[in-house]
């Protein structure tokens, strides 16, 4: 960007500035700290100049929005055409209660739905299972059967909304129910749009909702991707997630690196199953976090887009630009929010939203200010949604594309994070790939070490956290917390009892037998799963078929 001579002059001038005014000022007024770091521990210089981006080449590093390497964004007009999708993750209690929350959110201007399932559902247990005791409907909606799914989307036409479902180990089953419901509503598969998380690797790494050993789990993942590619073209069949990795404690660079490493594994698995890279890759989507250090987040997003584009093109030989685009959803950083002085969280979320907008995301969930207290109340969710709307409509951040490009700092940090991603990918490749790196606990250990370091920084007051280690105050206990009815399990159990009696036993049994049979072959399970849930098999029953075949997985948990 700069010619050699110019850089030389800047270098001399910078040295003079360092030895002159800076030194003088520091002598009189020392800086606040000797080293400054981002929340991820990236060292931050006093000043960034062209010297830090000396070998910057516009075309190779940035290019244009919608064009390779997509550093500046995946669409040519970005938010000037349409804002990101505002999508609040929600679910609790019964399907009926959650349905009400969804319809409220849609009325408030939300543009997509996002389903939070309760833990029994996510672990493939029905509400009446012994291990569901105490958990039914607690932190998400309880879905046992296609009947529950029908209530969940009551009066919500599936061709008019896009739905995101946070479901992983049993993803095929819940998605099967969703497709079955679409059929009931008379919506053709070609009109159904949305995303299913379907990312089992990060469950093993840091989210904990795994059921089967890695290999059969990966088979289910790929079956789903393949089925969607063949039958449901608008469906994002996986959401490769860094969000949880970051929440579990990683740095920004680790978040991006480990997500991309997982992404590489999924792409390779699909290719190994005989799919053309450019057939399925356009439907891959990603999911990231946004913390409060705005510029670091923006750099992370830009670095990630650029790196992924290169991976797809160079490593996998993709020729379709759509395959090279890293499209992603963002959720603001839950773990950055405090139980202390919860209203401060609104400000954190606003900054995180800004980072997301500057970073060029496709959709966003903003956390509520009561994040560290309970599931969000309606009031808190509304503020969170309004925060997005304020940033979108009032801040101007959405009016020009990638506005931070060309900032010496942001470009330097983008390069640095990209280099860190590259280091990790090389290291993981050398270990024999993500599956091995996970099995040996390498990825988990890296994340936990970062989490530990962060905690130590807070407790030693090295890093200031408002309301935690500085600017603290006495507060009355919080009021107005959302409570979920503890009798939920009884309600669902009663419902299930009836459901199990009333269904057609013969077709139900036949469907499960058929599922068992197909699951033992290489055939795609998706069609038989859909048949099974239509024949009114429950989530737990389908998952049990596979538990019998593949057993349950207990990964090594590392401390």
């Amino acid at each position: 960007m700069f010619d050699k001579k110019k850089l030389e002059t800047i270098k001399t001038e910078k040295e003079q500035w360092d030895c002159g005014p800076v030194e003088k000022t520091c002598a009189k007024f020392p800086e606040r700290k000797t080293t400054f770091t981002t929340i991820s521990g990236e060292e931050v210089e006093r000043l960034y100049t062209p010297l830090e981006v000396a070998d910057f080449d516009y075309d190779t590093k940035l290019g244009f929005p919608g064009e390779y390497p997509f550093t500046r964004g995946v669409q040519p007009t970005m938010y000037r055409g349409r804002f990101w999708t505002m999508r609040q993750y929600a679910g609790f209690g019964t399907a009926r209660e959650t349905n009400e929350r969804y319809r409220y959110l849609l009325e408030q201007g939300q543009t997509g739905l996002s389903v939070a399932f309760d833990l029994p559902t996510q672990s493939g247990y029905d509400s009446d299972h012994a291990l569901s005791m105490g958990e039914v409907g607690k932190v998400g909606v309880a879905i046992d059967s296609v009947d529950d799914m029908r209530v969940l989307f009551d009066q919500i036409p599936l061709d008019k909304v896009t739905t995101s479902m946070t479901i992983n180990a049993p993803a095929t089953v819940l998605l099967g129910m969703y497709f079955a419901l679409a059929e009931e509503q008379g919506v053709p598969y070609s009109k159904v749009g949305g995303t299913v998380q379907n990312d089992i690797l990060k469950e093993i790494i840091c989210r904990g909702q795994y059921i089967y050993p890695p290999l059969p789990s990966m088979r289910l993942t790929v079956d789903l991707i393949k089925y969607c590619y063949e039958h449901v073209p608008r469906w994002n069949s996986i959401s490769i997630s860094g969000y949880h990795i970051r929440e579990a404690g990683s740095t920004a660079a680790q978040e991006m690196a480990f997500t991309i490493a997982n992404g590489i594994t999924y792409v390779q698995s699909c290719i190994d199953r005989g799919m053309e890279v450019d057939s399925f890759a356009p439907r891959l989507s990603f999911f990231y976090n946004a913390f409060t250090n705005v510029l670091e987040e923006v750099a992370k997003f830009r670095a990630g887009r650029r790196y992924w584009a290169r991976v797809m093109k160079e490593r996998f030989g993709s020729e379709n630009p759509r395959s090279m685009m890293m499209r992603y959803h963002v959720q603001t950083g839950g773990v950055t929010l405090t139980a202390q002085q919860p209203l401060n969280n609104i400000v954190r979320v606003a900054l995180q939203t800004l980072a997301t907008a500057y970073g060029g995301a496709q959709s966003l969930h903003t956390n509520s200010y009561d994040e560290a207290l309970c599931l969000p109340t309606e009031e808190a969710v509304t503020v969170a949604l309004r925060t997005q709307q304020v940033v979108a409509e009032e801040s101007g951040a959405a009016d020009t594309i990638d506005p931070l490009a060309g900032s010496y700092y942001v470009e330097a940090l983008t390069d640095r994070i990209e280099a860190e991603i590259d280091d990790y990918i090389k290291k993981i490749d050398a270990m024999g790939g993500t599956l091995k790196a996970i099995e040996d606990g390498y990825v988990q250990k890296e994340i936990q070490d970062s989490a530990y370091r962060f905690q130590k920084e807070i407790e030693s007051n090295e890093r200031v956290y408002v309301g935690i280690n500085r600017y603290t105050m006495e507060e009355p206990p919080p009021t107005n917390l959302l409570k979920v009815d503890p009798k939920q399990r009884d309600i669902e159990t009663e419902k299930l009892k009836k459901f199990r009696v009333e269904r057609d036993q013969k077709s139900w049994k036949a469907a499960l037998d058929r599922l068992d049979e197909v699951s033992r072959t290489d055939e795609n399970v998706m069609p038989v799963v859909i048949e099974a849930v239509k024949a009114r098999a429950t989530v737990g029953e389908v998952c049990d078929v596979w538990r019998n075949i593949w057993g349950e997985y207990r990964p090594k948990e590392f401390v």
């Binding site: 050993p213 024999g432 091995k436 040996d440 606990g441 207990r554 090594k556 948990e557 590392f558 401390v559």
Partner: protein, 331 residues
Amino acid sequence: MDTKSRDLDISVIMEDLAAEVLQGSVRAMARLITLVENEDPRAFEFLGSIYPHTGRAHVLGITGSPGTGKSTLTDKITSVLRQQEKTVGVVAVDPSSPFTGGALLGDRIRMQRASGDPDVFIRSMATRGNLGGLARTTADVIKIMDGFGKDWVIVETVGVGQDEVEIAKTADTTIVVLAPGLGDSIQSMKAGVMEIADLYVINKADRSGADALVTEVRIRVEQDAQIKEAAWRAPVLKTVAVEDQGTEPLLEAIENHRSFLEQSGRLKKVRREKTRQETLSLLKEEISHNVLEKILGNGRFDDLIDDIVAHRKDPYTSVKEIVTTIFPDEE
């Protein structure tokens, strides 16, 4: 809940702690193990009462580098033993931090298939500064489980390098676990490890390099057999512990070794040697404890040091003199 001193509690039930163990109280066993771990002098008495009831369990040692799959294997072996209706005690040793003295005891988490089974007792132990792969008191803990009536006691050593050969002095059958891709190769293996293995397990046979490792180890075992005549030649087995493959053949091999020990009279010989070693070290400890107490207790030792420093006396003669005073009838 108020502050409670658990010590008080122990003294309350102390009187019949050993009796309770012998009667099958899991709680008493757990407590007694704690006393032993703490090297509480009161524990010896109980160990004394339990000793007559020991010697029945087969003690299986499992050692190998970190992460080779020792805990997972222990879990699977336990399952097979349980199918045969054998009762099992497991001692899983992990290292204490030399800096803080604390420890993360990470083996138990791998052994959860047995959870809920009252006939399996798993106890994690920290090394508390002991080198050699076991805690100083592991042998005593094994005795407690043995005396309690466990048919088998499985001991998982610390997974640190290959100098940890203490297990062989403690176990009847010692398994050395290796895995491909962990830098485990014959070259890196110290001679000590080769000498302690009654059985080799090449775990993680699902990973590439397993067959090569098997061949390598077999060749080495052959070579050793040619150099040194031995009645037992360590078999080399392949397992995939996570998928429970090869566990049953492994157990058969262990049983073979056990029969070999019994039929060849080796078991008696080996156990006699172990008893000798253990008694000897107890004796040494007791003597040095008593003697030192006498010598260091009265302040004369410091005077003596003064004399030696000033070269008024020499250390060699001085030590002899002291010992003669304490054991006058020596000579």
